[in-house]
Amino acid sequence: MTKILNHRISRRAVLGAGVASASLLAMPSVLRAQDRSIKIGVYGGYFKKSFDEHIFPEFTKATGIAVESIAEPTGEAWLVQLEQAAKAGQAPADISMMSQTSTLKGQATELWTPIDAAKIKNHGNLLDHFVNKYPDGRIAGIGAVAWYITLVTNTDVFKEAPTSWAALWDPANADKLGLLALASNSFLLEVTASTFMGGTKALDTEEGILKAFEKLAEVKPNVRLWYRDEAQFEQALKSGEIPMGQYYHDVTGLAAADGQPVRSTFPKEGGIQDSGNWVISRASTMVDEAHVFIDHMSQPAVQALMSRKVGTAPTLKKEVLDLKPEEFAAVSSDIPPIIPRYDLYTTKADWINQKWTELIVG
């Protein structure tokens, strides 16, 4: 509940910042100094807080461009809002952090302004899967942040850390789990396939997916909470009310650093690596400033800063970064990750969603 209250306050702060910048614009003499300002959508909660604290001030210092950060809801809510607004020629944010699935969906309606690779100095150092391209090769999005969803436990309840995703299926953990409520953000089909079916390749066919659903159904009696809202699970995990589940590695790390009795474990099958892109809404008129921002964010120094301060896995090749081994371990792992099958959530989205809903509700 504190988180929600904080969230409220931060939203109010955003409104306050909006009023402040509006009053600045009303004064022509100040206008010249502050005329370059962009609106950036970032995921609400910890992400927005950390970016406001550590990342955006550095960017404004380096480039003179002011940032108005906007808390995005998770899931596809923000995509829908951006799309509706773009139809009306509005951009609620010039740049947004956008999930891989949402980036692909936005591509279908040409929602993203193509990014000019020549304006991104470190373009060559980005890991391949962090450049999201339109089918014709134009760049739709550049990796913004990557994060892991791992197996998390409350340290008061589980003295020993679990080692495998198979712990979710353990009958001893009946009614103890908190899992994400949607197929497309929990990636539990991929987890099931990696743990019991030899890898996500098994999901290539519909039979394979149905088999994974069947195996996943066995986990249902262990689940206490299927959550959509992060705050809902995080609070319960900290208090030990729901002592095990899947959650974000970085957020759990930050909570543990705050002294909360929680831990994040990379299971031997790998953590789930999800990521978000920076995308520019086609309705934005601040395309140049947006490129300056993406260029700034893709520097090795800024990526390292983000790993240290925000807890995200870097989007650049490991060798160009100056992260110490323990700093790298705090945000990533040498165990190969489970990479979600984003293609499934665009091509078979409705079919998977229907099966999934029937699985957890039925």
Partner: protein
């Protein structure tokens, strides 16, 4: 006295403003929703204008019938619980001195200022194993060890009744305040006990108010989608939760619209049926 039929356009003028409001806030949005419910869903993006029945066809399944049935049953139960609790409470409240009434009403109004999120999280804390009311029961020796009272159907019902109760009381209050006290006095003079007088005189006298309140709470409860998620298991999710999933998380507006249209039609049908039954009884 015979009321004259309106003749000129000016005689109809008092209807213009409500009519305009009805068009702007109901007819236009609802028509848009009906239109979208026939649009073609594009799985990789959004939707294209079309006239197809696939969205309704997908909804017509045993799975969604069960969810719809549960949602209606939950809303009916919330309505009944609210009225059963609120009616005697409001009746007793109206017998108190004016000052006491004001204090109670202000307290009830303050509950309305709480958002659904706050109510949900507050009840989830109250029902939790680690910090909930069962710890209190353990402390006074009623229970051996604290248990979690959620997620469960009863947790959902409690949260929703709590949320709807102030509205119920506010709707019942004016009618109960205006109730002629001589009716009760007559009943008591003729030898009825207070409970008997309440059940046989007050309740029947206000039957229409009670039916109207039941309908209002029913409609109010039908739209709830946050409390079932916070306090219930997936099997307690209402149709509104699934509509939100489709609209927000799957960006499947046409299917979400089709489900919403269906939900509105079903609730209108139920409300109509209730009124029809009420009219028959009154006619007897």
């Amino acid at each position: 006295m015979k009321r004259e039929a309106p003749k000129s356009l000016a005689d109809y003028s008092p209807l213009f403003f409500p009519g305009l409001m009805l068009i702007v806030f109901f007819v236009i949005p609802f028509s848009t929703m009906i239109a979208v419910s026939f649009f073609q869903r594009d799985p990789s993006g959004f939707y294209t204008p079309d006239f197809v029945f696939t969205n309704y066809a997908r909804f017509l399944s045993l799975f969604f019938a069960k969810v719809l049935g549960f949602s209606l049953m939950l809303a009916v139960m919330v309505a009944i619980c609210c009225v059963v609790i609120a009616f005697p409470f409001t009746f007793l409240l109206t017998r108190r001195p004016r000052k006491v009434q004001t204090v109670w009403l202000v307290c009830l109004l303050s509950v309305l200022s709480l958002s659904e999120v706050i109510i949900g999280f507050a009840w989830s804390t109250l029902f939790s194993r680690t910090a909930g009311i069962t710890n209190l029961f353990v402390a006074i020796g009623l229970m051996k060890e604290p248990v979690a009272l959620l997620p469960s159907f009863w947790a959902v019902l409690t949260g929703m009744v709590y949320q709807a109760l102030p509205y119920t009381i506010l709707v019942l209050y004016p009618a109960l305040v205006r109730l002629d006290p001589t009716l009760l006095e007559a009943a008591r003079t003729l030898g009825a006990s207070p409970v008997r007088a309440f059940m046989n005189v007050v309740v029947p006298a206000l039957r229409n108010t009670i039916v109207a309140t039941l309908i209002m709470v029913f409609v109010f409860a039908l739209g709830s989608y946050l409390l079932p998620q916070i306090l219930g298991r997936p099997s307690h999710w209402t149709l509104s939760v699934l509509i939100t999933d489709q609209a927000i998380y799957q960006s499947n507006m046409p299917f979400a619209a089709a489900m919403a249209v269906f939900l509105v039609l079903m609730s209108l049908a139920l409300v109509g049926l209730t009124l029809l039954v009420g009219r028959r009884e009154n006619a007897l």
